[in-house]
């Protein structure tokens, strides 16, 4: 989170942000899924993790490719 504000240019900021949202956030959501009472709610959280892991690297890739041009 600190890297988003401290890093100098777009690519390093993108590195910090994508690390945040494709590594730290899924870990947090897996943690909340362990805290759920029912299996159904836990599986919903796992589904959110899967969607995040699919979408976030793609978004970071597209942002960096379009910034390189």
């Amino acid at each position: 989170m600190l890297g988003l504000f401290r890093f100098p240019d777009l690519f390093t900021k993108l590195h910090a942000g994508s690390l945040l949202e494709s590594f730290a956030l899924p870990l947090c959501i897996i943690g909340t899924s362990l805290m759920q009472k029912t299996l159904c709610a836990a599986l919903k959280n796992i589904l959110v993790v899967v969607i995040l892991l699919i979408l976030n690297p793609i978004i970071a890739n597209i942002l960096s490719k379009s910034a390189r041009k």
């Binding site: 699919i54 979408l55 793609i58 890739n61 597209i62 490719k65 379009s66």
Partner: protein, 325 residues
């Protein structure tokens, strides 16, 4: 819960100030998208999942994409500075003054003692909805049952908005001569842009599941949060994402207009069938079928969903075709 609402509300104010003092129109558009995503979280905390779904589809997806499309058609628009600071600051100060003056009235918006919640119609709805309509969801029952005149008017307004937009921007469709108003996006065929190829592959995986969720929201509109407007706006957003990712889509806008008009006609047909069987307009209880209320509400939600989806796709495609002229 209250702490979360307070934090999100202060985030809203911060993003709004950021919008006021941003340097270019591109920044304004992106900040507005952030604003509507914050609003989605706020609605979820306030127990309004219907409004949250609509805001996510319309505010965060559709308006951002349409504004960015217009901006990319006119590149000067995205880099132009847009800040008359003094007038903005005066407007901000006056808005803050108004909110400070009347915050005591809007403070406990969810209090049960408010006159809105004490009106007799609310008690009627909450106590009689189950036996009047035969469905458990209040919003669907009130929207498509008790207040179906209002909903008919709303779907007509959406239809008129789409048609007038297409008449202003792209009047060829109204001329009747050209049925070939197809939107062949550029780069048709095999030479997909390398930059977009990964995105299109991922969209091929995601989009069927998104459509499945839309169908779930549509069909379960009577028993859970959701319904026609939400499912329709989500379907429209999915179509927009698909037409951004894949370069080979071609939709004739005429068919979109025809489906929108057909759905409104379906709604009116349900209303008129109430007259045929001896009741009032839009009184479905008299139709001699088992669970006629439930069935009619289901068909009406379906009509609203088709209407909203086709009009949203129509709006995006209309703005997308500006460069072609």
């Amino acid at each position: 819960m209250t702490a979360a609402i307070t934090i999100l509300s202060s985030c809203l104010i911060g993003v709004a100030i950021k919008i006021l003092f941003s340097r270019s129109t591109l920044e304004v558009i992106i900040s507005a998208s952030v604003l509507s995503i914050t609003l989605v979280c706020l609605y979820l905390f306030m127990d309004a999942p219907d409004v949250a779904m609509t805001e996510a589809a319309l505010g965060a997806c559709l308006s951002t994409v349409v504004l960015l499309t217009i901006g990319s058609r006119m590149p000067k628009l995205l880099t132009k500075a847009v800040t008359p600071y003094l007038s903005l600051f005066i407007g901000l100060l006056s808005a803050v003054a108004v909110i400070l003056m009347c915050y005591k009235q809007i403070n406990n918006y969810s209090s049960i003692q408010k006159p809105v919640h004490l009106h007799y119609s609310n008690k009627y709805y909450t106590s009689n909805l189950k036996e009047d309509m035969g469905i458990p969801a209040f919003i669907a029952g009130i929207l498509a049952g008790y207040r179906s005149y209002d909903t008919l008017g709303e779907s007509l307004v959406i239809l008129i908005a789409g048609i007038s937009l297409i008449l202003i921007i792209n009047p060829n469709l109204g001329g009747g001569e050209s049925g070939v108003n197809k939107t062949h996006l550029k780069n048709e065929g095999n030479n997909i842009d390398r930059n977009k190829s990964m995105l299109s592959i991922i969209c091929r995986i995601i989009i069927p599941y998104a459509l499945l969720i839309c169908i779930y929201i549509q069909i379960n509109g009577e028993v859970s949060p959701g319904g026609g407007f939400q499912a329709g706006s989500l379907v429209g957003s999915v179509f927009i994402v698909y037409s951004i990712c894949s370069r080979t889509i071609s939709i004739n806008k005429k068919y979109l207009v025809i489906t929108a008009i057909g759905s409104v006609l379906l709604y009116c047909f349900i209303g008129v069938s109430g007259i045929i069987f001896g009741g009032n307009f839009l009184n479905y209880g008299v139709i001699p079928l088992p669970h006629s209320q439930h069935l009619a509400i289901f068909i009406i939600e379906l009509a609203i969903g088709i209407n909203v989806a086709s009009i949203i796709t129509l709006i995006y495609l209309t703005f997308h075709d500006i460069r072609k002229r």
